[in-house]
């Protein structure tokens, strides 16, 4: 790693070259490739189902994936474990069934990290989830990411249990 660093450093000139940077050390699905086909990004509004939440709403999405629109991470990690993989598979199935729907993956961190690092960590977690979904066949253009770092906790305590709930990536339907 050190050697490559030396030679690569001065060559690295532009923003987009970051996209060609070596993969993160953890085992991740490949980063998304730009697909050749034109996938629909905004489809006509789906016919509302006779009862229950409307297709395209966050409620519909969450109930369809059994609440598995959130995945959780270990401290300072961003890898997809088997529980995460099952959740993301459910999300991918939903997205396959409703190709008109796009999502944003929100990456979060617990409060026990510095603010700036946690913003970057949340972004890495959101991308981890996105890459996994893309690996399952979801068009990357249907998935955006945003990091909230440690700025938006759901669990308010300062203990291991709360922190575990806050280290998360949340998939949200884009309206």
């Amino acid at each position: 790693m050190r050697l490559r660093l030396k030679t690569g450093m001065l060559l690295a000139g532009t923003a987009a070259m970051a996209a060609c940077a070596p993969k993160a050390p953890e085992v991740l699905p490949p980063p998304p490739e730009a697909p050749a086909s034109t996938a629909p990004t905004s489809a006509p509004a789906p016919a509302p189902t006779p009862s229950g939440p409307t297709v395209g709403s966050q409620t519909h999405f969450e109930s369809a994936v059994n609440g598995q629109n959130v995945i959780y991470f270990d401290t300072d990690r961003f890898n997809i474990d088997s529980a995460d993989a099952a959740a993301l598979q459910a999300q991918a199935q939903y997205l396959a069934r409703y190709p008109q729907i796009s999502i944003t993956v929100e990456g979060h961190a617990d409060e026990r990290g510095t603010r700036e690092y946690n913003l970057a960590l949340g972004e890495r977690r959101a991308n981890s989830a996105k890459n996994y979904l893309v690996g399952l066949g979801v068009d990357p253009r249907r998935i955006s990411t945003v990091s909230y770092g440690k700025e938006r906790p759901v669990a308010l305590g300062s203990n291991e249990q709360a922190w575990a709930q806050n280290r998360r990536a949340v998939s949200v339907v884009v309206n």
């Binding site: 690295a12 923003a15 940077a21 993160a24 050390p25 510095t114 603010r115």
Partner: protein, 466 residues
């Protein structure tokens, strides 16, 4: 593909419709003109106070009676006239010196008021009788052009000697700057250190419950006065940094829904993106001369540090390791950058040359190293040390002589006073998540909370005002 990338990397394109979280712009401060401080003749007074004796050399008794005026006239700086303003100036100086922890100042409210003539001819006998070691005198004069002239004198009471004098002409709205400048010459003359009071702090003002915190960009003088909110709070603002000339602020805003660094022009209230890119950008920093901006950008989840000329131009990527390379703080001469990276598996501090070459790890203490900030003196690097709790620590630029200065549950994000002798940071309380600004000196002994109107985080101390 590559051409496109270069286009994307240009900065400072004007920005449309993204100002919706901004308050009205702040009027730029007036000029402060430094002049000689000469004035006229003698009289008498009397006082009663005791200087508490501390064996520490620095606990020096300093008497700061009200500044005198030649003619008590009304001024926009004080409804009650130049006489009242003179006492208020002495109070500001007293608070500055007391908060510094090195002195035992006694202010105008427990001292007699010297006459205008006594300012240059102190009644030594009286002050010696009260045990004052040092005496600060000064005057305020309303000039015919509407500005104020403020003179400041420091005397060694035991020797009956004048140590230093200076004077300034200030617009009435900037009268506090004269008080800070007087504090600075007293502090500098007595400690041998560089000044720092005449400076400002940018920070993030926080309100609301832990899961719905409102985070606004705010600025204030070094003593907390002249407080202003710059953003309205509809969008989360984080991590401000004053430009060395105080004309611009870098900060992160979610105003378009994504975390991005903006360059905010304080005088005009206009702001631009630091780089035209769809990627999130974090952790803005100025170079010491203000010519460059460092920022960190995540591309496909991988965060690296970039440098861009502050007046526009091409961004250069300085790091390229997998993982999070973030932050970055220039050495005072601009030749090196200390930054944070988790390339080894955990957050540690690294240094590189300003062009990104020769990257090497600095910290091997155990625990993690985050948010490193190079002292403006160059002799120390302050950082957040994470080893169980989060604490403010310093080390040499060689990564030696680790000293942990604070002991809070979560102290983070150090920023240096302009003279490199005091570190400001923010402390978060366990469970409640409430945060406040704190200061600690390099001994770790003098720690104090800086009062702010609401909770506060991400302090950024600017240099001495131009």
């Amino acid at each position: 593909m590559k051409k496109l990338a270069i286009l994307l990397a240009f900065i400072a394109s004007p920005l449309m419709a993204q100002n919706q979280d901004l308050g009205s712009p702040v009027a730029e401060g007036g000029e402060v003109e430094t002049i000689g401080a000469d004035e006229s003749q003698a009289e008498e007074g009397g006082l009663s106070f005791t200087v508490t004796d501390e064996s520490d050399w620095a606990d020096l008794g300093v008497a700061i009676p009200g500044f005198a005026t030649d003619r008590d006239v009304s001024t926009p700086a004080s409804r009650d006239g130049t006489g009242a303003l003179g006492r208020e100036i002495a109070r500001v100086i007293t608070a500055n010196l007391r908060n510094n922890g090195l002195f035992q100042p006694v202010g105008p409210d427990s001292l007699p008021q010297p006459s205008f003539a006594q300012i240059t001819d102190p009644n030594w006998g009286t002050w010696r009788g009260r045990g004052a070691e040092m005496l600060v005198h000064g005057y305020v004069r309303a000039r015919s052009d509407g500005r104020l002239m403020v003179g400041c004198y420091l005397y060694d009471v035991a020797l009956g000697d004048e140590l230093v004098r200076e004077g300034w002409v200030v617009p009435p709205a900037d009268w506090r700057r004269a008080a800070h400048k007087c504090s600075d010459i007293v502090y500098s003359r007595l400690t041998g250190e560089d000044p720092f009071f005449d400076s400002r702090i940018a920070y993030i003002a926080e309100t609301g419950p832990k899961d719905r915190r409102v985070k606004r960009l705010a600025i204030m003088d070094s003593d907390g006065a002249n407080h202003r909110f710059l953003t309205l709070g509809s969008a989360t603002a984080l991590t401000p940094r004053y430009s060395p000339d105080y004309k611009r602020l870098l900060y992160l805003s979610y105003v378009d829904g994504n975390p991005r660094i903006y360059v905010y022009d304080i005088g005009t209230g206009r702001q631009t993106l630091v780089t035209q890119s769809a990627n999130p950008t974090f952790a803005p920093r100025w170079s010491p001369d203000g010519r460059f901006i460092l920022y960190s950008m995540a591309v496909a989840g991988n965060t690296d540090i970039y440098r861009v000329p502050s007046n526009g131009g091409r961004s250069i990527r300085l790091t390229d390791t997998p993982g999070i390379d973030i932050g970055g703080s220039y050495s005072p001469d601009g030749s090196r950058i200390v930054f944070e990276s988790d390339r080894s598996g955990s957050q540690q501090c690294y240094v590189m040359n300003a062009d990104g070459s020769n990257q090497r790890r600095l910290t091997f203490f155990g625990g993690r190293c985050a948010t490193p900030e190079w002292s403006p003196r160059g002799d120390q690097i302050a950082f957040t040390r994470i080893a169980g709790d989060f604490n403010i620590a310093v080390m040499t630029p060689q990564g030696r002589n680790l000293r942990v200065l604070t002991s809070g549950w979560q102290d983070e994000a150090p920023t240096w006073a302009p003279n490199g002798r005091i570190i400001q940071f923010f402390r978060t309380q366990r469970n409640s998540g409430r945060s406040a600004l704190w200061q600690v000196d390099l001994t770790g002994r003098n720690e104090r909370r800086l009062p702010t109107p609401v909770d506060a985080s991400d302090p950024a101390w600017g240099p001495i005002l131009p």
